[in-house]
Protein backbone atom coordinates (compact mmCIF):
# COMPACT_ATOMS: atom_id res chain seq x y z
CA UNK A 1 0.00 0.00 0.00
CA UNK A 2 1.38 3.31 -1.04
CA UNK A 3 1.37 6.10 1.53
CA UNK A 4 0.60 9.52 0.07
CA UNK A 5 0.60 12.61 2.24
CA UNK A 6 -0.77 15.57 0.31
CA UNK A 7 -0.39 19.23 1.36
CA UNK A 8 -0.88 18.35 4.99
CA UNK A 9 -0.99 21.06 7.63
CA UNK A 10 -1.57 20.08 11.25
CA UNK A 11 -2.31 22.70 13.83
CA UNK A 12 -2.87 21.75 17.47
CA UNK A 13 -4.91 24.12 19.57
CA UNK A 14 -4.31 26.87 20.31
CA UNK A 15 -1.60 27.75 17.77
CA UNK A 16 0.98 24.96 17.62
CA UNK A 17 1.85 24.23 13.99
CA UNK A 18 3.26 20.70 14.20
CA UNK A 19 3.26 20.11 10.42
CA UNK A 20 3.41 22.81 7.73
CA UNK A 21 2.55 21.72 4.21
CA UNK A 22 3.95 18.20 4.06
CA UNK A 23 4.07 16.33 0.74
CA UNK A 24 5.50 12.84 0.91
CA UNK A 25 4.95 9.71 -1.13
CA UNK A 26 6.22 6.40 0.21
CA UNK A 27 5.76 3.52 -2.22
CA UNK A 28 5.08 0.00 -0.98
CA UNK A 29 8.31 -1.67 0.13
CA UNK A 30 10.28 1.51 0.89
CA UNK A 31 12.56 1.88 3.91
CA UNK A 32 12.54 5.42 5.27
CA UNK A 33 14.42 7.12 8.10
CA UNK A 34 12.54 10.06 9.57
CA UNK A 35 15.05 12.38 11.23
CA UNK A 36 14.90 15.86 12.74
CA UNK A 37 15.40 17.60 16.06
CA UNK A 38 13.02 17.03 18.96
CA UNK A 39 9.60 18.55 18.35
CA UNK A 40 10.05 18.68 14.59
CA UNK A 41 6.93 16.61 13.90
CA UNK A 42 8.18 13.04 13.38
CA UNK A 43 5.70 11.42 15.73
CA UNK A 44 2.85 13.57 14.46
CA UNK A 45 3.62 12.47 10.92
CA UNK A 46 3.40 8.83 11.95
CA UNK A 47 0.18 9.42 13.78
CA UNK A 48 -1.31 10.76 10.57
CA UNK A 49 -0.72 7.34 9.05
CA UNK A 50 -2.37 5.50 11.97
CA UNK A 51 -5.21 8.03 11.87
CA UNK A 52 -4.61 9.00 15.48
CA UNK A 53 -4.36 12.48 14.05
CA UNK A 54 -6.31 13.93 11.16
CA UNK A 55 -4.84 16.82 9.13
CA UNK A 56 -6.13 20.33 9.64
CA UNK A 57 -5.67 20.76 5.88
CA UNK A 58 -4.73 18.34 3.12
CA UNK A 59 -5.24 14.59 3.07
CA UNK A 60 -3.60 11.28 3.80
CA UNK A 61 -4.10 8.42 1.34
CA UNK A 62 -3.01 4.89 2.12
CA UNK A 63 -3.48 2.35 -0.65
CA UNK A 64 -5.61 4.98 -2.40
CA UNK A 65 -8.09 5.39 0.47
CA UNK A 66 -8.53 8.73 2.19
CA UNK A 67 -8.18 7.83 5.87
CA UNK A 68 -10.65 10.51 6.85
CA UNK A 69 -13.40 8.55 5.09
CA UNK A 70 -13.05 5.37 7.15
CA UNK A 71 -15.66 4.35 9.73
CA UNK A 72 -14.79 3.09 13.21
CA UNK A 73 -14.64 -0.60 12.36
CA UNK A 74 -12.84 0.09 9.09
CA UNK A 75 -10.13 1.85 11.03
CA UNK A 76 -9.69 -1.13 13.34
CA UNK A 77 -9.23 -3.43 10.34
CA UNK A 78 -6.94 -0.89 8.67
CA UNK A 79 -4.77 -0.66 11.78
CA UNK A 80 -4.25 -4.41 11.75
CA UNK A 81 -2.24 -3.95 8.57
CA UNK A 82 0.04 -1.49 10.28
CA UNK A 83 2.58 -2.41 12.93
CA UNK A 84 3.55 0.44 15.23
CA UNK A 85 6.41 0.71 17.72
CA UNK A 86 5.27 3.63 19.82
CA UNK A 87 7.83 6.04 21.23
CA UNK A 88 6.43 5.31 24.71
CA UNK A 89 5.94 1.60 23.96
CA UNK A 90 2.26 1.47 25.01
CA UNK A 91 2.39 -2.08 26.26
CA UNK A 92 -0.68 -3.48 27.97
CA UNK A 93 0.25 -3.32 31.64
CA UNK A 94 -2.26 -5.96 32.73
CA UNK A 95 -0.81 -8.56 30.38
CA UNK A 96 2.51 -10.40 30.63
CA UNK A 97 5.12 -10.13 27.90
CA UNK A 98 3.79 -13.37 26.43
CA UNK A 99 0.18 -12.20 26.54
CA UNK A 100 1.05 -8.84 25.03
CA UNK A 101 2.17 -10.74 21.96
CA UNK A 102 -0.65 -13.27 21.78
CA UNK A 103 -3.23 -10.54 22.23
CA UNK A 104 -2.62 -8.85 18.87
CA UNK A 105 -2.77 -12.19 17.12
CA UNK A 106 -5.95 -13.23 18.90
CA UNK A 107 -7.53 -9.90 17.99
CA UNK A 108 -7.24 -10.77 14.29
CA UNK A 109 -8.50 -14.31 14.84
CA UNK A 110 -5.39 -16.41 14.21
CA UNK A 111 -5.50 -20.12 15.10
CA UNK A 112 -4.24 -21.01 18.57
CA UNK A 113 -1.34 -23.30 17.71
CA UNK A 114 0.09 -20.89 15.16
CA UNK A 115 -0.08 -18.10 17.75
CA UNK A 116 1.84 -20.15 20.26
CA UNK A 117 4.49 -21.08 17.77
CA UNK A 118 5.07 -17.58 16.44
CA UNK A 119 5.07 -16.02 19.89
CA UNK A 120 7.68 -18.39 21.25
CA UNK A 121 9.80 -17.90 18.17
CA UNK A 122 9.82 -14.11 18.38
CA UNK A 123 10.34 -14.08 22.17
CA UNK A 124 13.42 -16.14 21.57
CA UNK A 125 14.62 -13.91 18.73
CA UNK A 126 14.23 -10.80 20.89
CA UNK A 127 16.02 -12.35 23.87
CA UNK A 128 12.87 -12.17 26.02
CA UNK A 129 12.25 -15.88 26.45
CA UNK A 130 13.27 -15.90 30.11
CA UNK A 131 11.19 -12.77 30.72
CA UNK A 132 8.00 -14.01 29.06
CA UNK A 133 5.93 -14.16 32.25
CA UNK A 134 6.95 -10.72 33.53
CA UNK A 135 4.64 -7.72 33.29
CA UNK A 136 5.88 -4.64 31.38
CA UNK A 137 6.69 -2.70 34.54
CA UNK A 138 9.01 -5.53 35.58
CA UNK A 139 11.03 -5.30 32.37
CA UNK A 140 14.03 -3.04 31.85
CA UNK A 141 13.67 -0.13 29.41
CA UNK A 142 15.43 -2.02 26.65
CA UNK A 143 13.38 -5.14 27.23
CA UNK A 144 10.16 -3.15 26.98
CA UNK A 145 11.36 -1.64 23.75
CA UNK A 146 12.14 -5.04 22.29
CA UNK A 147 8.75 -6.31 23.35
CA UNK A 148 7.12 -3.34 21.62
CA UNK A 149 9.07 -4.14 18.45
CA UNK A 150 8.10 -7.80 18.67
CA UNK A 151 4.43 -6.85 19.01
CA UNK A 152 4.58 -4.50 16.01
CA UNK A 153 6.20 -7.04 13.72
CA UNK A 154 4.54 -10.30 14.74
CA UNK A 155 1.55 -9.94 12.41
CA UNK A 156 3.71 -9.29 9.32
CA UNK A 157 2.10 -5.89 8.67
CA UNK A 158 2.10 -4.18 5.27
CA UNK A 159 3.45 -1.03 6.90
CA UNK A 160 5.74 -0.85 9.92
CA UNK A 161 6.10 2.42 11.79
CA UNK A 162 8.87 2.50 14.38
CA UNK A 163 9.17 5.63 16.50
CA UNK A 164 12.63 5.79 18.07
CA UNK A 165 12.93 1.98 18.28
CA UNK A 166 16.50 2.04 19.62
CA UNK A 167 16.29 4.88 22.16
CA UNK A 168 16.74 2.57 25.14
CA UNK A 169 18.99 -0.01 23.56
CA UNK A 170 22.70 -0.59 23.62
CA UNK A 171 24.53 -0.52 20.30
CA UNK A 172 24.70 -4.25 19.80
CA UNK A 173 21.01 -4.78 20.44
CA UNK A 174 20.17 -1.74 18.30
CA UNK A 175 22.09 -3.23 15.42
CA UNK A 176 20.35 -6.58 15.83
CA UNK A 177 16.99 -4.82 15.80
CA UNK A 178 17.89 -2.89 12.66
CA UNK A 179 18.77 -6.15 10.94
CA UNK A 180 15.38 -7.54 11.86
CA UNK A 181 13.66 -4.44 10.47
CA UNK A 182 15.64 -4.73 7.25
CA UNK A 183 14.75 -8.38 6.83
CA UNK A 184 11.08 -7.52 7.31
CA UNK A 185 11.48 -4.78 4.71
CA UNK A 186 13.10 -7.29 2.36
CA UNK A 187 9.86 -9.29 2.49
CA UNK A 188 7.97 -6.30 1.03
CA UNK A 189 6.86 -4.38 4.11
CA UNK A 190 7.12 -0.61 4.05
CA UNK A 191 9.23 0.48 7.03
CA UNK A 192 9.35 3.99 8.49
CA UNK A 193 11.83 4.58 11.34
CA UNK A 194 11.97 7.83 13.29
CA UNK A 195 15.33 8.13 14.99
CA UNK A 196 17.98 10.35 16.55
CA UNK A 197 20.58 7.59 16.20
CA UNK A 198 23.32 8.74 13.85
CA UNK A 199 25.23 5.48 14.03
CA UNK A 200 22.25 3.46 12.81
CA UNK A 201 21.39 5.81 9.93
CA UNK A 202 24.95 5.88 8.67
CA UNK A 203 25.52 2.14 9.11
CA UNK A 204 22.40 0.99 7.25
CA UNK A 205 21.91 3.59 4.58
CA UNK A 206 18.39 4.09 3.27
CA UNK A 207 16.06 6.88 2.20
CA UNK A 208 16.26 9.77 4.68
CA UNK A 209 13.49 12.33 5.18
CA UNK A 210 14.58 15.17 7.41
CA UNK A 211 12.04 17.36 9.20
CA UNK A 212 12.59 20.73 10.81
CA UNK A 213 9.88 22.82 12.38
CA UNK A 214 7.19 20.74 10.69
CA UNK A 215 8.66 21.08 7.18
CA UNK A 216 10.51 18.54 5.02
CA UNK A 217 14.00 20.01 4.54
CA UNK A 218 15.66 17.02 2.85
CA UNK A 219 14.49 13.84 1.16
CA UNK A 220 17.36 11.71 -0.07
CA UNK A 221 17.84 8.11 -1.31
CA UNK A 222 20.73 6.30 0.44
CA UNK A 223 21.15 9.36 2.63
CA UNK A 224 23.46 9.99 5.56
CA UNK A 225 22.79 11.55 8.93
CA UNK A 226 23.81 15.16 8.60
CA UNK A 227 24.82 17.20 11.57
CA UNK A 228 22.03 19.73 11.03
CA UNK A 229 19.47 16.94 10.99
CA UNK A 230 19.75 17.10 14.71
CA UNK A 231 20.37 20.78 15.36
Amino acid sequence: MEIKIENVIKQFPPDILALRNINITIPQGDFVYLVGPTGSGKTTLMRLITREVVPTKGRVLVGGTDLRKLGMTDIAYYRREIGVVFQDFRLLSHLTAYENLTFVQEAIGMPKDLIEERTNEILDKMGLWRRRFLYPEQLSGGEQQRLAIARATINCPSILLADEPTGNLDLQTAEAIMKILLSINAMGTTVVVATHNQYIVDEFRQRVISLRGGRVVRDERKGRFEINDDF
Binding site: V54, R80, L92, V104, G109
Partner: protein, 295 residues
Amino acid sequence: MTTFSYVLRDAFRLVTRNITLSFLTLVTTVAVFFLMSCSILFVMNTKHIVAGIENNLVITAYVNKKGTAAEVVADKIGKLDCVDSVRIVTPDKALEILRARLGNQADVLTLLDDNPLPPSVEIKLKNASAVSVVARELLSMEEVEDIVYAGELAKRLEIISRFISKFSFGVLAIALAVGALVVFNTIRIGVYARREEIEIMLLIGATPGFVAFPFVLHGSIISALGALLAGASVFLSYDRVVGALKASMPFLNFMTDRAVVMDLWLLLVGGGLTVGWICSWLAVSKFVRQAMRPH
Protein backbone atom coordinates in the same frame (compact mmCIF):
# COMPACT_ATOMS: atom_id res chain seq x y z
CA MET B 1 -13.36 -18.49 17.96
CA THR B 2 -10.05 -17.31 19.33
CA THR B 3 -11.61 -13.87 19.48
CA PHE B 4 -14.52 -15.09 21.52
CA SER B 5 -12.32 -17.05 23.89
CA TYR B 6 -10.20 -13.94 24.37
CA VAL B 7 -13.26 -11.91 25.24
CA LEU B 8 -14.36 -14.49 27.79
CA ARG B 9 -10.91 -14.67 29.30
CA ASP B 10 -10.65 -10.90 29.46
CA ALA B 11 -14.03 -10.57 31.14
CA PHE B 12 -12.92 -13.22 33.57
CA ARG B 13 -9.67 -11.33 34.13
CA LEU B 14 -11.65 -8.14 34.74
CA VAL B 15 -13.49 -9.99 37.48
CA THR B 16 -10.56 -11.80 39.04
CA ARG B 17 -7.64 -9.43 38.65
CA ASN B 18 -8.97 -6.89 41.09
CA ILE B 19 -10.76 -9.38 43.16
CA THR B 20 -11.29 -6.94 46.05
CA LEU B 21 -12.81 -4.40 43.72
CA SER B 22 -15.05 -6.89 42.00
CA PHE B 23 -16.04 -8.22 45.38
CA LEU B 24 -16.95 -4.76 46.64
CA THR B 25 -19.02 -4.07 43.57
CA LEU B 26 -20.71 -7.40 43.98
CA VAL B 27 -21.48 -6.71 47.63
CA THR B 28 -22.96 -3.34 46.73
CA THR B 29 -25.05 -4.89 44.00
CA VAL B 30 -26.21 -7.63 46.36
CA ALA B 31 -27.13 -5.02 48.97
CA VAL B 32 -29.08 -2.96 46.45
CA PHE B 33 -30.92 -5.95 45.06
CA PHE B 34 -31.52 -7.19 48.58
CA LEU B 35 -33.07 -3.89 49.61
CA MET B 36 -35.07 -4.01 46.42
CA SER B 37 -36.51 -7.44 47.07
CA CYS B 38 -37.15 -6.54 50.69
CA SER B 39 -39.21 -3.52 49.60
CA ILE B 40 -41.08 -5.62 47.09
CA LEU B 41 -41.81 -8.33 49.64
CA PHE B 42 -42.81 -5.70 52.18
CA VAL B 43 -45.28 -4.20 49.75
CA MET B 44 -46.61 -7.60 48.74
CA ASN B 45 -47.09 -8.57 52.37
CA THR B 46 -48.81 -5.33 53.21
CA LYS B 47 -51.20 -5.84 50.34
CA HIS B 48 -51.74 -9.39 51.49
CA ILE B 49 -52.46 -8.28 55.04
CA VAL B 50 -54.84 -5.57 53.91
CA ALA B 51 -56.57 -8.12 51.71
CA GLY B 52 -56.84 -10.36 54.77
CA ILE B 53 -58.54 -7.63 56.75
CA GLU B 54 -60.83 -6.91 53.84
CA ASN B 55 -61.83 -10.55 53.85
CA ASN B 56 -63.26 -10.04 57.29
CA LEU B 57 -65.44 -7.16 56.14
CA VAL B 58 -69.09 -7.77 57.08
CA ILE B 59 -72.31 -6.04 56.09
CA THR B 60 -75.29 -6.69 58.34
CA ALA B 61 -78.63 -6.40 56.60
CA TYR B 62 -81.78 -6.26 58.81
CA VAL B 63 -84.68 -7.76 56.96
CA ASN B 64 -88.38 -7.69 57.68
CA LYS B 65 -89.94 -10.58 59.55
CA LYS B 66 -92.17 -11.81 56.74
CA GLY B 67 -91.66 -15.54 56.18
CA THR B 68 -88.38 -16.44 54.57
CA ALA B 69 -87.20 -12.90 53.83
CA ALA B 70 -83.79 -13.61 55.39
CA GLU B 71 -83.31 -16.74 53.30
CA VAL B 72 -84.29 -14.90 50.13
CA VAL B 73 -81.84 -12.12 50.76
CA ALA B 74 -79.05 -14.52 51.71
CA ASP B 75 -79.70 -16.50 48.58
CA LYS B 76 -79.68 -13.53 46.24
CA ILE B 77 -76.64 -11.87 47.74
CA GLY B 78 -74.72 -15.10 48.08
CA LYS B 79 -74.69 -15.38 44.31
CA LEU B 80 -72.68 -12.17 43.83
CA ASP B 81 -69.05 -12.62 42.84
CA CYS B 82 -67.67 -10.26 45.40
CA VAL B 83 -69.39 -12.00 48.29
CA ASP B 84 -67.41 -14.48 50.27
CA SER B 85 -70.11 -15.98 52.49
CA VAL B 86 -73.46 -15.20 54.10
CA ARG B 87 -74.82 -16.12 57.50
CA ILE B 88 -78.38 -15.68 58.78
CA VAL B 89 -78.93 -14.37 62.30
CA THR B 90 -82.44 -15.25 63.49
CA PRO B 91 -84.35 -12.96 65.93
CA ASP B 92 -83.83 -15.59 68.65
CA LYS B 93 -80.12 -15.51 68.16
CA ALA B 94 -80.14 -11.71 68.23
CA LEU B 95 -82.10 -11.75 71.46
CA GLU B 96 -79.61 -14.17 72.95
CA ILE B 97 -76.82 -11.77 72.13
CA LEU B 98 -78.73 -8.88 73.75
CA ARG B 99 -79.42 -11.02 76.79
CA ALA B 100 -75.76 -11.78 77.19
CA ARG B 101 -75.04 -8.10 76.97
CA LEU B 102 -77.45 -7.18 79.76
CA GLY B 103 -75.85 -9.62 82.17
CA ASN B 104 -77.70 -10.44 85.44
CA GLN B 105 -80.41 -7.89 84.61
CA ALA B 106 -81.37 -9.81 81.50
CA ASP B 107 -84.53 -11.10 83.13
CA VAL B 108 -86.18 -7.91 82.00
CA LEU B 109 -86.25 -9.27 78.49
CA THR B 110 -88.65 -12.05 79.54
CA LEU B 111 -91.20 -9.28 79.95
CA LEU B 112 -91.21 -8.71 76.19
CA ASP B 113 -94.42 -10.06 74.78
CA ASP B 114 -92.83 -10.77 71.48
CA ASN B 115 -89.22 -10.76 70.26
CA PRO B 116 -88.92 -7.18 68.97
CA LEU B 117 -85.58 -7.78 67.25
CA PRO B 118 -85.47 -8.20 63.47
CA PRO B 119 -83.71 -11.12 61.74
CA SER B 120 -80.54 -10.17 59.90
CA VAL B 121 -78.10 -11.47 57.32
CA GLU B 122 -74.34 -11.12 57.82
CA ILE B 123 -72.48 -10.86 54.51
CA LYS B 124 -68.72 -11.42 54.30
CA LEU B 125 -67.13 -9.67 51.34
CA LYS B 126 -64.02 -10.51 49.34
CA ASN B 127 -62.70 -6.95 49.20
CA ALA B 128 -63.39 -3.48 50.45
CA SER B 129 -64.24 -1.96 47.10
CA ALA B 130 -67.29 -4.20 46.85
CA VAL B 131 -68.96 -2.68 49.89
CA SER B 132 -70.85 0.08 48.13
CA VAL B 133 -72.00 -2.20 45.32
CA VAL B 134 -73.36 -4.78 47.72
CA ALA B 135 -74.88 -2.10 49.92
CA ARG B 136 -76.76 -0.60 46.99
CA GLU B 137 -77.91 -4.03 45.91
CA LEU B 138 -79.22 -4.77 49.41
CA LEU B 139 -81.08 -1.49 49.70
CA SER B 140 -82.83 -2.15 46.42
CA MET B 141 -84.42 -5.32 47.88
CA GLU B 142 -87.81 -4.81 49.44
CA GLU B 143 -87.05 -7.42 52.11
CA VAL B 144 -84.22 -5.35 53.51
CA GLU B 145 -85.25 -2.76 56.09
CA ASP B 146 -81.88 -1.37 57.05
CA ILE B 147 -78.20 -2.14 56.58
CA VAL B 148 -75.26 -1.55 58.88
CA TYR B 149 -71.65 -1.79 57.77
CA ALA B 150 -68.25 -0.39 58.64
CA GLY B 151 -68.41 2.08 55.80
CA GLU B 152 -65.49 4.15 57.08
CA LEU B 153 -63.21 1.21 57.62
CA ALA B 154 -64.02 -0.13 54.17
CA LYS B 155 -63.23 3.17 52.54
CA ARG B 156 -60.01 3.51 54.52
CA LEU B 157 -58.77 0.09 53.62
CA GLU B 158 -59.55 0.70 49.99
CA ILE B 159 -57.57 3.97 50.03
CA ILE B 160 -54.62 2.41 51.85
CA SER B 161 -54.59 -0.50 49.45
CA ARG B 162 -54.61 1.79 46.43
CA PHE B 163 -51.89 3.94 47.97
CA ILE B 164 -49.68 0.93 48.61
CA SER B 165 -49.99 -0.05 44.98
CA LYS B 166 -48.75 3.37 43.94
CA PHE B 167 -46.07 3.37 46.61
CA SER B 168 -44.79 -0.02 45.51
CA PHE B 169 -44.21 1.35 42.02
CA GLY B 170 -42.30 4.26 43.52
CA VAL B 171 -40.09 2.03 45.66
CA LEU B 172 -39.40 -0.29 42.77
CA ALA B 173 -38.53 2.61 40.50
CA ILE B 174 -36.11 4.15 43.00
CA ALA B 175 -34.49 0.83 43.86
CA LEU B 176 -34.13 -0.02 40.19
CA ALA B 177 -32.64 3.39 39.48
CA VAL B 178 -30.14 3.05 42.31
CA GLY B 179 -29.20 -0.46 41.20
CA ALA B 180 -28.73 0.65 37.61
CA LEU B 181 -26.73 3.65 38.75
CA VAL B 182 -24.41 1.56 40.89
CA VAL B 183 -23.72 -0.86 38.06
CA PHE B 184 -23.32 1.93 35.52
CA ASN B 185 -21.03 3.77 37.87
CA THR B 186 -18.88 0.75 38.57
CA ILE B 187 -18.45 -0.08 34.92
CA ARG B 188 -17.86 3.56 34.03
CA ILE B 189 -15.14 3.90 36.63
CA GLY B 190 -13.75 0.52 35.64
CA VAL B 191 -13.58 1.70 32.06
CA TYR B 192 -11.98 4.91 33.21
CA ALA B 193 -9.39 2.98 35.23
CA ARG B 194 -8.47 1.04 32.12
CA ARG B 195 -8.67 3.94 29.69
CA GLU B 196 -5.04 3.54 28.67
CA GLU B 197 -5.47 -0.11 27.88
CA ILE B 198 -8.58 0.62 25.86
CA GLU B 199 -6.76 3.27 23.87
CA ILE B 200 -3.85 0.92 23.21
CA MET B 201 -6.12 -1.93 22.16
CA LEU B 202 -7.92 0.34 19.72
CA LEU B 203 -4.57 1.54 18.41
CA ILE B 204 -3.36 -1.93 17.61
CA GLY B 205 -6.46 -2.81 15.64
CA ALA B 206 -9.01 -4.19 18.09
CA THR B 207 -12.56 -3.35 16.97
CA PRO B 208 -14.72 -1.20 19.27
CA GLY B 209 -17.06 -4.11 19.87
CA PHE B 210 -14.20 -6.39 20.82
CA VAL B 211 -12.90 -3.85 23.32
CA ALA B 212 -16.33 -3.10 24.77
CA PHE B 213 -17.56 -6.65 25.09
CA PRO B 214 -15.54 -7.78 28.13
CA PHE B 215 -16.78 -4.74 30.05
CA VAL B 216 -20.36 -5.41 29.09
CA LEU B 217 -19.95 -9.03 30.12
CA HIS B 218 -18.30 -7.99 33.36
CA GLY B 219 -21.13 -5.60 34.21
CA SER B 220 -23.80 -8.11 33.34
CA ILE B 221 -22.14 -10.88 35.31
CA ILE B 222 -21.70 -8.78 38.43
CA SER B 223 -25.20 -7.40 38.24
CA ALA B 224 -26.82 -10.77 37.56
CA LEU B 225 -24.72 -12.47 40.22
CA GLY B 226 -25.67 -9.75 42.68
CA ALA B 227 -29.34 -10.30 41.89
CA LEU B 228 -28.87 -14.05 42.15
CA LEU B 229 -27.23 -13.89 45.57
CA ALA B 230 -29.69 -11.32 46.89
CA GLY B 231 -32.55 -13.48 45.63
CA ALA B 232 -31.00 -16.54 47.20
CA SER B 233 -30.60 -14.95 50.60
CA VAL B 234 -34.15 -13.62 50.45
CA PHE B 235 -35.50 -16.96 49.28
CA LEU B 236 -33.66 -18.90 51.94
CA SER B 237 -34.48 -16.57 54.81
CA TYR B 238 -38.05 -15.65 53.86
CA ASP B 239 -39.74 -18.63 55.48
CA ARG B 240 -37.84 -18.19 58.71
CA VAL B 241 -38.47 -14.44 58.89
CA VAL B 242 -42.16 -14.78 58.10
CA GLY B 243 -42.32 -17.64 60.57
CA ALA B 244 -40.89 -15.44 63.30
CA LEU B 245 -43.23 -12.60 62.38
CA LYS B 246 -46.23 -14.89 62.35
CA ALA B 247 -45.28 -16.22 65.76
CA SER B 248 -45.29 -12.76 67.30
CA MET B 249 -48.10 -11.32 65.19
CA PRO B 250 -50.43 -14.23 64.45
CA PHE B 251 -53.31 -11.84 63.82
CA LEU B 252 -51.64 -10.53 60.64
CA ASN B 253 -52.10 -12.47 57.48
CA PHE B 254 -48.57 -12.83 55.99
CA MET B 255 -47.89 -14.16 52.53
CA THR B 256 -46.46 -17.66 52.79
CA ASP B 257 -46.48 -18.76 49.17
CA ARG B 258 -42.91 -19.83 48.28
CA ALA B 259 -43.76 -19.84 44.58
CA VAL B 260 -44.24 -16.09 44.65
CA VAL B 261 -40.82 -15.59 46.26
CA MET B 262 -39.34 -17.92 43.67
CA ASP B 263 -40.92 -15.90 40.87
CA LEU B 264 -39.53 -12.76 42.43
CA TRP B 265 -36.09 -14.33 42.45
CA LEU B 266 -36.24 -15.20 38.76
CA LEU B 267 -37.54 -11.74 37.97
CA LEU B 268 -34.66 -10.27 39.96
CA VAL B 269 -31.97 -12.23 38.10
CA GLY B 270 -33.53 -11.38 34.75
CA GLY B 271 -33.76 -7.74 35.75
CA GLY B 272 -30.19 -7.77 37.04
CA LEU B 273 -28.89 -9.21 33.80
CA THR B 274 -30.79 -6.71 31.67
CA VAL B 275 -29.87 -3.74 33.81
CA GLY B 276 -26.22 -4.84 33.93
CA TRP B 277 -26.08 -5.29 30.19
CA ILE B 278 -27.68 -1.97 29.31
CA CYS B 279 -25.74 0.02 31.88
CA SER B 280 -22.36 -1.44 31.00
CA TRP B 281 -23.05 -0.92 27.35
CA LEU B 282 -23.93 2.73 27.94
CA ALA B 283 -20.90 3.14 30.17
CA VAL B 284 -18.37 1.70 27.77
CA SER B 285 -19.66 2.58 24.31
CA LYS B 286 -19.42 6.33 24.70
CA PHE B 287 -15.90 5.98 26.02
CA VAL B 288 -14.78 3.76 23.16
CA ARG B 289 -16.23 6.11 20.58
CA GLN B 290 -14.36 8.93 22.26
CA ALA B 291 -11.10 7.00 22.25
CA MET B 292 -11.48 6.34 18.54
CA ARG B 293 -11.91 10.03 17.77
CA PRO B 294 -8.78 11.41 16.09
CA HIS B 295 -6.90 14.44 17.36
